[in-house]
C-alpha cells in the first residue's frame, strides 16, 4: 500500500470503486458541508473536496476535507496549482497528510478569468504534471524536491484528472501516460456524455497498457434538465454532450427531466461497469448530492465494500 487510503484498498481488492465530490460553501458555515456529507456518507469510497473550482472563492479544500472526515467520510483533497507556488503546495501536502487526508487529486485549476476575482494574479509555478511528481517524490523518496530529508513523508494515493474530450484528441492518451509516469496512481475523467468518443479514448489507452498501470475512474454528472445540458455544452470548454443525449432528456416534460437525468446517469454507470479497463466511477452530482444514494444504489453499487 502506498497510502493505506480506503480508495486505494478498494481498488487494490479489485472492486469497482465509487467517488463523488463535495463543493465547499461560499462562506465559513461548516454545517453546509456537514449537510452535504450526510448525503455522501456510505455511498462512496472517497469524496473529493474541490479547490476553488471555476476560480470562485470557497472554503478551502483542506478545511472541507477535515469536516467531511469528522463525519466519517474518507476525503480526497483536490489541489490546484493556480493559487499556490511550490512552497505553499509542499506545505499544504504535509499539512493534509498530517491531518489524515490520504487521497490527492492534482489539477491545474480553471483560469482565474472565470471566477469572481478575474483581476487576481495567477501562480502556475509548477504545473499539475509536476505536482504529481512532487507528491510522489515526497511520498516515495521521503525528501523535498530540494533534496532535504522530510521529517515524516506525506502519504497520498495520488490522482490526476483528464479530459478525453478536449483537443487535440491525439494528445489525450499520451498526456495520461505522462501523468501515470509522473506518479499518478489513479485518474478521474471529466464528465462523460459522448460514450462513443470515450470508447475510442479507452481503446487507445488500452493499447498503451494504461489500465494495468493507473486506475481509471470514469466521470459522470447527472443532468438535471435539458437546459442544464445546453448550458454546459455552450459554456464549459471541452464539454462534449452529443445531440442524442440532449434530445433524450429534452423529449421529457420539464417536471420529469430530472428523473430522466438520473435514469440516464444510472444506465451510463452500468455501461461503464461493463467496460474493460474502467476501475470505477466518479459521480459529480453538482449541487445535487441528495441524489447520490439513488444513483449509486440504482447502479447496483451499494453497499460499498469494506476492505481491511
Amino acid at each position: 500500500m502506498k497510502s493505506g487510503s480506503n480508495l486505494e484498498k478498494v481498488l487494490a481488492a479489485g472492486h469497482f470503486s465509487v467517488t463523488a465530490e463535495c463543493g465547499p460553501p461560499r462562506g465559513a458555515d461548516p454545517d453546509i458541508v456537514r449537510k452535504k456529507a450526510a448525503f455522501v456518507k456510505g455511498n462512496v469510497d472517497a469524496c473529493n473536496v474541490t479547490d476553488n473550482q471555476t476560480s470562485v472563492v470557497r472554503m478551502s479544500s483542506l478545511a472541507g476535507c477535515l469536516l467531511i472526515k469528522e463525519e466519517g467520510i474518507e476525503p480526497l483533497i483536490q489541489m490546484v496549482v493556480r493559487d499556490r507556488n511550490r512552497i505553499a503546495l509542499q506545505s499544504d501536502l504535509l499539512g493534509a497528510s498530517a491531518m489524515g487526508v490520504r487521497n490527492l487529486l492534482c489539477l491545474s485549476g480553471d483560469h482565474q478569468k472565470f471566477g469572481d476575482d478575474p483581476q487576481a494574479k495567477n501562480v502556475f509555478d509548477i504545473d499539475s504534471m509536476q505536482l504529481i511528481h512532487l507528491a510522489k517524490t515526497m511520498r516515495d523518496d521521503g525528501v523535498f524536491p530540494s533534496g532535504d530529508k522530510l521529517q515524516g513523508a506525506p502519504m497520498f494515493y495520488i490522482g490526476c484528472a483528464v479530459n478525453p474530450f478536449a483537443d487535440p484528441f491525439e494528445i489525450r492518451v499520451p498526456r495520461l501516460k505522462l501523468k501515470m509516469e509522473a506518479g499518478a496512481d489513479f485518474v478521474q475523467t471529466q464528465c462523460i456524455y459522448n460514450m462513443e468518443k470515450f470508447k475510442k479514448y479507452m481503446e487507445l489507452a488500452k493499447r498503451e497498457g494504461l489500465p494495468e498501470k493507473i486506475k481509471i475512474l470514469a466521470g459522470v454528472t447527472p443532468l438535471k434538465s435539458a437546459g442544464m445540458a445546453k448550458f454546459m455544452r455552450k459554456m464549459v470548454a471541452g464539454m462534449d454532450i452529443p445531440d442524442a443525449v440532449v434530445n433524450r432528456i429534452a423529449a421529457e416534460p420539464k417536471e420529469k427531466q430530472a428523473d430522466k437525468g438520473i435514469e440516464m446517469c444510472i444506465e451510463q454507470i452500468q455501461e461503464l461497469k461493463e467496460m474493460e479497463g474502467i476501475a470505477g466511477v466518479h459521480v459529480m452530482a453538482i449541487e445535487w448530492e441528495e441524489k447520490l444514494a439513488e444513483i449509486v444504489g440504482g447502479a447496483g453499487l451499494l453497499p460499498r465494500p469494506v476492505v481491511e
Binding site: 493556480r82 478569468k113 472565470f114 509555478d125 512532487l134 483537443d167 498526456r175 471529466q190 470548454a237
Partner: protein, 221 residues
C-alpha cells in the same frame, strides 16, 4: 519589440494638472515602431494637450523632444542642459525609458504617457501580440519554437489543459491555444518525442521572481 498603448487623454490631463511648463519626450526605439511613443506621436499628443488645456481655460507650454533611445545614458544626457527649466517630463517611451529618465533627473517629476505592454510582434498594421516574457531560460528548441510560458494562459509545461477546444484557449475566443500550436509544430517537425518527457520544474529565479535582474557581460566591460 516592447509594445505599449497610449494612456487615455483624461488620465494624462489629470497628471498634468499641477504643471504649465513641461517636456514631452518620445523615443525612436520600440515605441516608434509600434507607433505609440515616436516623434510623430509626440507632435500629435502635444497638440492634443494644448487644445485640451485651452478648452479648459489654461495654457501649457510643451517642449517636444524625441531621443534616439530613452534606455541609453548617452541619449538621455542630451536632455540634461534644459530639463531643469521645466516643471515635469511627460515621457511616452516604455517603462524602462521613463524610469531611466527619472533616475537621471532626480529633481524633475516624471510622468508616464503610455501603458507599457509586452515583448511582442506586429501581426499586421495596428495589431501586436505577445511572444516572450523574458523568463531568462529559453526552451524554444524543445517546444517547436513556440513559448509555453507566454503562449499558454497557464504557462503549462505539459499542456494543453482540458480547456483547449479546436485550437482555441478557454480564456478568450481570440486566443489560440499555445499547446495546440506547439503540438502541431512538433508533429510537423517530427519532434513529438519532445512532448512525452516530464520537464523539470522551471527555475523562475532567472525570471522576474528572482528580483530585478542584471546582465553583466565581462567581455564588453
Amino acid at each position: 519589440m516592447i509594445t505599449g498603448t497610449p494612456k487615455p487623454i483624461e488620465e494624462i490631463m489629470e497628471m498634468l494638472e499641477p504643471y504649465d511648463n513641461i517636456v514631452l519626450a518620445g523615443c525612436h526605439g520600440c515605441v516608434t515602431v509600434c507607433r505609440v511613443g515616436g516623434e510623430k506621436e509626440v507632435q500629435v499628443l502635444a497638440s492634443t494637450l494644448r487644445l485640451a488645456r485651452e478648452a479648459a481655460g489654461r495654457t501649457i507650454n510643451i517642449r517636444e523632444v524625441s531621443l534616439e533611445r530613452q534606455c541609453d545614458p548617452e541619449y538621455v544626457e542630451q536632455m540634461r542642459p534644459y530639463v531643469t527649466d521645466y516643471q515635469a517630463v511627460l515621457s511616452i517611451a516604455c517603462g524602462a525609458g521613463i524610469q531611466f529618465l527619472a533616475e537621471k533627473f532626480t529633481t524633475t517629476p516624471l510622468l508616464p504617457g503610455i501603458n507599457t505592454g509586452f515583448l511582442g510582434v506586429t501581426e499586421r498594421q495596428g495589431e501586436w501580440s505577445e511572444r516572450c516574457q523574458g523568463c531568462g531560460d529559453c526552451v524554444l528548441h524543445l517546444t517547436g519554437g513556440i513559448c509555453p510560458v507566454t503562449r499558454c494562459a497557464k504557462s503549462l509545461f505539459h499542456g494543453p489543459c482540458g480547456g483547449s477546444v479546436q485550437g482555441i484557449c478557454e480564456v478568450d475566443k481570440e486566443t489560440k491555444c499555445g499547446w495546440q500550436l506547439i503540438i502541431d509544430r512538433l508533429v510537423a517537425l517530427n519532434q513529438m518525442e519532445n512532448y512525452g518527457k516530464l520537464k523539470p520544474y522551471k527555475g523562475w529565479n532567472s525570471s522576474r521572481d528572482g528580483g530585478p535582474r542584471r546582465i553583466i557581460r565581462e567581455d564588453m566591460i
